[in-house]
């Protein structure tokens, strides 16, 4: 929990600093939009978290996000290129395809003992390619599909913006379900055991391969759910939707305290990590400093948006470096505590 506390405090500090520098940061429009962004990232980041906690990695997440929207547009859109079928059919088929992708990757990884990095890397390219052939290199519009309401609508509408956008509601549902699965069930315990020591888990009779496969299904399924939200949010599906999202997910998961070695992490941490990613993203646009130039004219200094990746990359590096420092210091303390007492005397041997 220490990691969550640390990242959570850092997040609060950053939010406060942004609010002080620019009060619009917590204005309704920006706050709701940021929450929407956090939610859409968080949904699939939790999926990635399941895989990573069990010691795997899923690089196909972004491509699944993109493919979901492309399938919905292809089946349900009334605009040119769309199939004109019902929206429900499109969504169901898209989610089913996502789950199937996860199942196939999971089976390849566990049954053939292939490396997850390679299998999901190939999956990432393959699925991206499928999206590309469907959209024929161009875009597919969702037109005026009612799906668009999913991203922009929500509960408690105020001035055209909802206070609780639907993606946030979905995210809260995923947090509740994911938190329950991971922290309160047999399945969750098995994930930590497999991530902590795969061999010992197998020696304890855990069906390791089946559980690992399940994590890839969960990851792809949640990527599908996030994909539906992104489709609604963007409206125009192209092969570019979802590019590199798997890396944002991994970054969010790691920022939230999961180890890529597996066996560590919490849903709360992943939520904080996702929020961190998107707050920084948004903060780069919002951050400003008022000052007066030489002539006494008040001016605004803003961050150059071209710095986004430099800042995001630095934040991730700083977080893992700090974490490692804490680990090493704690490890040294532990060693000092466990230092063995002076050699135990041999047991009293019978006097011969």
């Amino acid at each position: 929990m220490k990691r969550e506390l640390g990242m959570g405090s850092a997040l609060v500090v950053i939010c406060l600093a942004l609010f002080i520098s620019n009060s619009d940061f917590l204005g309704q429009s920006n706050a709701v939009n940021t929450l929407r962004q956090i939610s859409m990232l968080g949904i699939y980041a939790i999926g990635s978290g399941f895989v990573i906690i069990a010691g795997g990695i899923d690089l196909s997440v972004g491509s699944v996000v993109g493919l979901t929207g492309v399938i919905i547009a292809r089946i349900s859109s009334q605009a040119t290129g769309g199939g004109g079928h019902s929206l429900a059919l499109g969504v169901v088929v898209a989610l089913a395809v996502a789950l199937l992708v996860g199942l196939l990757q999971g089976l390849l990884i566990t049954r053939l003992n292939l490396q997850p990095f390679i299998v999901t890397l190939a999956g990432m390219l393959l699925i991206r390619g499928v999206s590309q052939t469907v959209v024929q290199g161009g875009t597919l519009s969702l037109g005026t599909s009612p799906l668009l309401g999913l991203a922009n609508g929500g509960l408690f509408m105020r001035g055209g913006d909802p206070l609780l956008p639907y993606p946030l509601l979905i995210f809260l549902g995923v947090i509740a379900a994911g938190g329950y699965l991971l922290h309160s069930t047999v399945l969750g315990r098995y994930l930590y055991a497999i991530g902590g020591n795969r061999e010992a888990a197998a020696y304890s009779g855990i069906p390791v391969k089946r559980i690992e496969t399940t994590t890839y299904v969960i990851s792809a399924g949640l990527a599908g759910v996030a994909g539906v939200c992104y489709a609604a949010y963007i409206g125009q599906m192209s092969q570019q939707v979802g590019v590199a999202y798997e890396l944002y997910a991994i970054a969010a998961v790691v920022l939230g305290g999961c180890s890529l070695r597996g066996g560590e992490g919490t849903v709360l941490g992943i939520v904080i990590g996702s929020a961190m990613m998107k707050v920084i993203d948004n903060g780069i646009n919002m951050f400003q400093v008022r000052y007066q130039d030489a002539d006494g004219v008040p001016r605004l200094w803003r961050l150059d948006a071209n710095w986004t990746f430099i800042i995001v990359g630095s934040v991730i590096l700083i977080a893992v470096v700090l974490d490692q420092v804490v680990h090493v210091v704690q490890g040294k303390q532990r060693l000092r505590v466990v230092e063995p007492p002076p050699a135990a005397p041999t047991p009293a041997a019978p006097v011969s």
Binding site: S184, T185, V186, L187, R189, Y190, Y192, A193, G196, N197, E199, A200, A201, A202, Y203, S204, G205, I206, P207, G263, E264, R334, V337, V338, P340, P341, P342, A343, A344, T346, P347, A348, A349, P350, S352
Partner: protein, 501 residues
């Protein structure tokens, strides 16, 4: 080497050991597993520093503070696991780290390397082009490459740690020829081996270690297998900490193993484990005992043979199958196979039977904690709480967590592979007491151990294995150091009689 001492984290590995070897001589170093042979040789090879003592080469005291300085002094250590890069060719391996170029960026002197390598290969009797990839060689050929590498560094002292462990008879014979040739060239060879025949064939002298101490030197003429075994195992047994043996062998057969062929084993193994007894498996490391018990536990499938559990066919295809039938294994490698180190005592204890603590998949944390606390209390595990992560516990307490995890789900057959490895003396006595108690409770307990004292003190019947074969089954008063020692090292006279019976 004189008065060498070495301690590891509170355990004394070597105490006041002295050893001398001359050029042009083969000195065999013998002893049980854990006697300190490898540690002593690692000190000589610069892999580990000694804590006490002095090393002299040709009369001059030397300080060996690393593998490089050992190399400079002409000492080469050939490890049991060969240290070759299989993706590189023979010449590259021989000169790895000693390419002789002035700069890291200098081009490799391939032609010169190949030429020198060819000469070295001729010396070790290997007729192969130096450009052949090491990954394609047999283990015996790799061994020769290792020796060639040692020779390339002008080694005057060559240490070999069980070089024939994975060689065929033919390959071993070739190795012996090379060793004899090197001896004739004046090289001093220190040869670690468990194989009696080899030692008698090759060695000019034998030095025996026991429990980290020097146990004796034998000249070639007096080095009979009886004398060597006596020096290896002949220690006073301190029976104080073993529980009293009762006549427990009367119970009915729980697990019957018939001609079970483990992958890699030359022949089948048959035995029966009875209710309420402790059945021991003695032998040296690599005798095939761990492979046998992991097969019974379903980790690797058997190649042939049958097993019966309570008279019913038993053919586990995974640990899951074995656990369902009540056959549990506390594995040799606790940290890799027995425990999830970053998890708590509670989580480790309930892991195999986790479903019993859940309703509709939801875990009942209170029930888990109760069971973990009960096991901690029963076994006397020393820990501030059951929430403690097992990584922070000592070896003895970790082993108790492994035991507790299986006791929490009422075993039929409990297999303990090296139950006291790396555990201090005090905790050992406790573990022995618990094991005896389990047997008394009607569990068939199987104990695999390389510790002779443990096997003799604890077990009702003892299966002895050597080189993946079962070489004997001893009961009651037959369980003596001499009998077990002879069966596990293959000292001829006794062994043949046992196999025949």
């Amino acid at each position: 080497m004189q008065g060498i001492g070495k301690r590891f984290a509170g355990v004394t590995a070597l105490r006041d050991v002295s050893l001398s070897a001359r050029g042009g001589e083969v000195l065999a170093l013998m002893g049980e597993n854990g006697a300190g042979k490898s540690t002593l040789m690692k000190i000589l090879g610069g892999v580990q520093p000694p804590d006490a003592g002095e090393i002299r080469i040709e009369g001059k005291p030397v300080v060996i503070d690393g593998v490089r300085s050992a190399k400079r002094l002409g000492i080469a250590l050939i490890h049991q696991e060969l240290m070759l890069a299989p993706n590189l060719d023979i010449a590259a391996n021989i000169f790895l780290g000693t390419e002789g170029t002035p700069l890291l960026l200098s081009p490799l002197p391939r032609a010169a390397m190949n030429k020198k390598a060819t000469a070295l290969l001729a010396r070790v009797g290997l007729a192969l082009p130096p450009t052949k990839s090491v990954g394609h060689l047999t283990v015996g050929q790799m061994q020769m490459v290792e020796i060639a590498r040692a020779l390339s560094a002008d080694a005057r002292i060559l240490i070999m740690d069980e070089p024939t462990a994975s060689l065929s008879a033919n390959e071993s014979e070739k190795l012996f020829e090379v060793i004899r040739k090197l001896r004739a060239d004046g090289v001093c060879i220190i040869y670690i081996s468990h194989r009696m025949e080899e030692v008698q064939l090759l060695a000019d002298r034998v030095t025996v270690l026991r429990d980290g101490r020097w146990a004796g030197d034998l000249a070639r003429a007096e080095a009979t297998s009886d004398k060597i075994v006596a020096l290896m195992v002949g220690r006073e047994l301190s029976g104080a900490y073993f529980p009293e043996k009762k006549d427990r062998t009367a119970g009915e057969v729980v697990l019957e193993v018939k001609d079970l062929v483990v992958p890699g084993a030359p022949a089948g193994v048959s035995f029966a484990a009875r209710r309420g007894e402790i059945l021991g498996f003695a032998g040296l490391v690599g005798a095939g005992r761990t492979e046998l018990v992991t097969t019974i536990f379903g980790v690797t499938p058997a190649r042939a043979g049958t097993m019966l559990l309570d008279g019913q066919p038993f053919a586990p295809r995974s640990p899951r199958d074995a656990i369902r039938r009540g056959v549990y294994l506390a594995p040799e490698d606790r940290k890799h196979h027995g425990l999830v180190l970053p998890m708590s005592i509670t989580e480790n204890t309930t892991l195999p039977g986790l479903r019993a603590y859940s309703r509709w998949g939801r875990l009942d944390g209170a029930a888990e904690r109760r069971v973990a606390e009960a096991e901690v209390a029963r076994l006397g595990t020393r820990t501030p709480s059951v929430r403690q992560k097992v990584v922070t516990l000592s070896g003895g307490n970790q082993q108790k967590v492994v035991l507790g995890k299986w006791l929490a789900m009422s075993p039929r057959v409990l297999i303990l592979d090296e139950p006291t490895r790396g555990i201090d003396v005090g905790a050992r006595a406790e573990i022995y007491r618990h094991v005896a108690k389990l047997a008394a409770d009607g569990i068939a307990v199987v104990v695999v151990s390389s510790d002779m004292e443990e096997v003799i003190g604890l077990c009702d019947r003892v299966v002895v294995m050597r080189e993946r074969r079962m070489t004997g089954l001893l009961t009651g008063s037959e369980i003596t150091q001499a009998r077990i020692g002879a069966l596990m090292t293959g000292a001829r006279a006794v062994a043949t009689a046992e196999v025949a019976s």
